[in-house]
Amino acid sequence: MPSSSPINAPHSMAPPTDDPRWRLVDTTMRHYGYAPNALIETLRIVQESFGYLDAIAMKYIARSLRMPLSKVYGVVTFYGLFRLKPPGEHTCTVCLGTACYIKGAKNLLDAVKLCTGLLLGQTSADNKISLLSCRCFGACGIAPAAILDGQVIGNLNSSEMEKHIRKWTVSK
């Protein structure tokens, strides 16, 4: 196993705030004995709990796991999974994998652009909609597919996509 730190090392750093979600983060790091290999799992837990990773979170993790902030930042920006900004209220993730590309994923992106003006990776100014992409989430059998607010929707065409997005833009 990786060298883990001595049991009594001063890990008991106070979390940035008294938000109870930090307890889960601490539990994760403790589970790994504050070893460096806890990093990705800890980042994932922070993102799951808070929705994204901000500088405060990254600094806290860097100090707790006793590694340079640059390493934490390097890992965060390496993996497509991690977000540095909070996502919009609704998210639309369009698959750009091969099967979806062949079946016209580009038209879906165009449809979203048409009704929201958003480009890939952007969030609308009112923080309502984020447009993201991913590389195949294994729904190739029903391509082209997208994930709308966590729900996989397959066999989409541009007008259906527009309908889904309009539902978000008109609702209060």
């Binding site: 750009l96 099967a99 991913c134």
Partner: protein, 567 residues
């Protein structure tokens, strides 16, 4: 274990083959209490088409009618023909219903006593089903992937106990070697050889890793297999642990596969509960544990050395081999790393013998392989065929061909390191050597069919854009080369390239292929090279005539350099 103990299910553990048989008998008895078993497919495609609602509707209706004692409604695994989602199967009648919605609930329940409903039935004797050979996806759709007992009832874990009690580690490796099994992660490295290298390594700490990163866009076999047969994969890994002398294993799954992550975590817990993981498995001195590691979504994570760097908590940067992970892998210890499907073959080989396995497939490529059929094809979904099946059988007999009067143009295999195979080569057999000789690659099993509306230059550009974006940046040929290749392809699709650009493209591909550090860069030029080989006329049409024959890069027949009409 005695009969009294049996009733106390909490204390029940499986320590011997007798325990296992008892557990299987009890489960079979439980299932036999029901007149019929209904399985609602819970695969990605079916769920997205509303199978959760179907499951709920069926369960609550059965409850309302007070028929819970007669009919068992369970969530089931993927049936394979995702284009007809959602699917419901009825057993033992072996009836498959397609395109089911909650509105069909009453009809289905009403028909359980009589004959099946013709209009909703899907022909499960059609060539889509009949042409498949199932090893990894055995009992397709008939196992509740959450319950370990379902797997035990069909012979699950008998291979593990056989190995632990009757075979030495070297006998296990011998059996796998004799079977001729080759790695299903792409390159087809002989599995027995890899296992024996790790077994021979002299270190008290060794690891076993299951590569379930499946970063290949357009492939979903590993996802499906992990979701539906988690116990089979974990059994294979545990046997591998025994054979190579490891006591710890990791299943590395990408984060997008949340259902697979949950299923594997649940399976690990259930195996621990029955003492099929942990200390003294099967009352022997063998200790083994498993953990899940969730990947962060980068294509390069699938490369074995990068994957190991990721488990160690850092950026997934590949490192030069040798040393191979088998000698120095996770935290510097000897590490066995195999693909999901490779592990899926282990328990069946031990159960049925290496000779049985070696009889399936071709001379050099033994056994079966799962493929994800998608793109412009009638029957999309997951299929498992004996290696040596021809591409034509796969696409036209199993896949049902290209729909709506369009024309088949090419099939892409091997993902971003693979190639596009044209109609003229469709009689080639699907095996490692034959695909390689066609300039493609077995890859993990994505098979994407394209019709005449796809432009091959644009397809090559798509893959190059993928590789450029996914290059980890560690080595220069891959980081810089892929971008330049992309720029050249982009120029071609805009009708602005010259023939010199084309020869530069060829030489650049050669450099990137031969000087990159890992398989990502080494394989990146393949889609370009293979389309250049089989579809050079399309490149020439873009360059010399400035048109895109398929009409993908611009309106058909129109000069690509002219700006599109604004009206």
């Amino acid at each position: 274990m005695n009969a009294n103990n049996l009733n106390n299910s909490k204390a029940q553990t499986i320590r011997s083959n007798d325990d296992l048989l008892l557990c299987a008998e009890r489960e079979k008895d439980r299932q036999a209490q029901y007149k019929q078993n209904l399985f609602v497919c819970m695969g990605t495609a079916c769920q997205s088409c509303g199978s959760t609602e179907v499951l709920k509707a069926l369960s609550s209706r059965i409850k309302d009618l007070g028929l819970e004692k007669d009919y068992l409604i369970s969530p089931g695994g993927c049936q394979g023909n995702c284009s007809q989602a959602p699917l419901v199967s009825v057993h033992p009648q072996n009836v498959l219903y397609q395109n089911i919605s909650p509105q069909n609930t009453n009809d289905i329940i009403g028909s359980l006593k009589g004959s099946p409903i013709k209009e909703l039935s899907c022909d499960n004797q059609s060539s889509f089903f009949a042409r498949q050979t199932r090893i990894v996806t055995e009992y397709r759709g008939l196992l509740n992937p959450e319950r370990i007992e379902d797997y035990i009832a069909v012979g699950g874990f008998s291979s593990l106990l056989k190995v632990l009690t009757q075979m030495s580690p070297s006998q296990v490796i011998q059996e796998i070697t004799c079977s001729g099994l080759r790695g299903r992660g792409g390159a087809g490295y002989p599995t027995g050889l890899k296992w024996s290298t790790v077994a021979k390594a002299n270190d008290s700490q060794k690891y076993v890793i299951c590569n379930a990163d499946e970063g290949d866009p357009g492939a979903f076999m590993n996802r499906n297999v992990l979701e539906d047969y988690p116990y089979k994969i974990l059994e294979g890994m545990t046997i591998a642990g025994y054979a190579v002398g490891a006591n710890q294993g990791y299943v590395y799954v990408r984060a997008e596969y949340d259902v697979a992550v949950k299923r594997v975590e649940n399976a690990i817990k259930n195996m621990q509960r029955l003492a099929l993981l942990g200390n003294s498995i099967g009352n022997t001195s063998f200790n083994f544990n498993l953990e899940v590691r969730v990947g962060g979504g980068a294509f390069v994570c699938g490369e074995e050395t990068a994957l190991i760097a990721s488990i160690e908590g850092g950026r997934a940067l590949p490192s030069p081999r040798p040393p191979y992970p088998a000698e120095s892998g996770l935290w510097g210890h000897p590490t066995l790393i195999n693909n999901v499907e490779t592990y899926g073959h282990i328990a069946p080989i031990i159960r049925n013998g290496s000779q049985w396995f070696a009889n399936i497939g071709t001379q050099k490529s033994k056994g079966t392989k799962t493929f994800a059929l998608s793109g412009c094809i009638k029957n999309t979904g997951l299929v498992e065929v004996a290696l040596g099946t021809t591409l034509r059988e796969m696409i036209f007999d199993i896949g049902g061909g290209v729909p709506e009067g369009r024309k088949f143009k090419a099939v892409q295999t091997g993902g971003p390191a693979g190639g596009c195979i044209p109609e003229s080569q469709l009689d080639a057999s699907i095996d490692y050597e034959s695909l390689k000789s066609l300039g493609s690659f077995m890859g993990s099993g994505g098979m994407i069919v394209m019709d005449d509306s796809s432009c091959m230059v644009d397809v090559a550009k798509y893959f190059m854009q993928f590789c450029a974006a996914e290059s980890c940046g560690k080595c220069i040929p891959c980081r810089v080369g892929t971008v330049h290749i992309y720029d050249l392809l982009n120029k071609i699709t805009k009708g602005e390239a010259s023939l010199e650009d084309l020869s530069q493209l060829e030489s650049l591909c050669d450099v990137v292929q031969n000087t990159s550090l890992c398989g990502l860069g080494q394989g990146a030029p393949n889609p370009v090279l293979s389309t250049l080989h089989f579809f050079k006329d399309e490149y020439i049409a873009h360059i010399v005539d400035h048109i895109c024959p398929a009409g993908a890069c611009g309106p058909k027949g129109q000069d690509l350099r002219r700006p599109a009409c604004v009206l």
